[in-house]
Subunit: 230 residues, 2 copies
Amino acid sequence: MARILVVEDEADIQEILAYNLKRDGHDVVVASTSKDGLRLARERRPDLVLLDLMLPDGSGTDLCKSLRRDSVTRGVRVIMLTAKGEEIDRVLGFELGADDYIVKPFSVRELLLRVQAVLRRAATEDAAETTQFGLLRVDRGAHRVWVEGQEVELTALEFKLLITLHDRRNRVQSRDSLLSDVWKIDADVTTRTVDTHVKRLREKLGAAGAYIETVRGVGYRFAEGPGGLI
Amino acid sequence: MARILVVEDEADIQEILAYNLKRDGHDVVVASTSKDGLRLARERRPDLVLLDLMLPDGSGTDLCKSLRRDSVTRGVRVIMLTAKGEEIDRVLGFELGADDYIVKPFSVRELLLRVQAVLRRAATEDAAETTQFGLLRVDRGAHRVWVEGQEVELTALEFKLLITLHDRRNRVQSRDSLLSDVWKIDADVTTRTVDTHVKRLREKLGAAGAYIETVRGVGYRFAEGPGGLI
DNA sequence: TCTGCTCGTCACAGAATCGTCACGTTCGCT
DNA sequence: AGCGAACGTGACGATTCTGTGACGAGCAGA
């Protein structure tokens, strides 16, 4: 099924996780340290990393950041294993980009189900390809964007915002929804962050910026089709 | 924000859940028994049910089944509160249709995050529909409306009013009711706001404005069917 | 350490939306 | 038919929302 990297220092938890994931049909790789985890992630290209927050040679959050920074492992799915407490916010934060979290203590059953859910979601989203939409061309895998044949430099966030809006074209996305899905911020805060980034993205996209429509009082919507922009 | 029904027999857990959900802005209804839970789900139409698996008068799974069977409550989102063990399979099983689960013991933070995630998912899926009603076509997810094939620009409030009336077609909606459901104003005030906005909406809808009928002394009603408008 | 880039936040301006008011019209009751 | 209540209507001003430019914090890399 999938290749899963387990980064966990406690031997008995390692064993239980590895055993059960293998029984579920997955290919399991195990690391005890953050350093080994990073190396194995590069070498073995797992589909999913189960990552303990507390590791002997550095925190799981640092490892998660490293994974996201490295172009080889940027796209891997991450489930954080976390003890109870407020670190859940940071775990889900944009800077970490975790896909889900499981709070210790947990049952193996729960973990298997959440692994499945994340893998299923990953399979749906990994339609990595080049998309043409009117004046706009997007290569997801390469993280590159062209408008009217000219390449446009987008930051990571801008790229993600564009992809999210485009994937959900013709559906209004509330600011809260974008904040959650692009920024991974779930708090109920009043912020103009989304607006500002939409502005920036529109600016960079130039003529294609008009594909991003404002629905006043609701949110933003990517045009249904590229018609009428010529 | 959302109306949440908490079905939980332990008084201290009830209290904690109700308090925190209210602080998050939700409207909270509490039941201690499966029977009360079902009754309140029918009467209060919650957006989400937090459902303990172990209830004094029957299991939460039975209540979940009842909710799914009843046409009034079929669509409600359900998060199961479950102790560790193998019952998770059944909880998530097709027959029960729970939307998520939270394993006891859990942190309030985790629960609030998962509540938000499920509500957001619910909002997204509920919007995925285009409706045709005579001269009128409405795409909820896109927040777009057409009359006789011509797109009509509605403000956020006008759109919401239209959706509310249309959802409840052939049912008179009192002004107080509309004020509460569309405007989120519960005060007993005398205002012409509803009238004014109905007027505006009718104006924008043009020919389709006639679907909105005045019931003098009672309120407004959306036509039962689009017949007789050609 | 320094520099440059990215990001979030703030303040302001302008446009759109909204609520309210006053007056006219319609409806239902006596 | 007359009257009063309810509703439709047009207009005004207050409020809200969004775009914009700019600043500063934080981070990564040299």
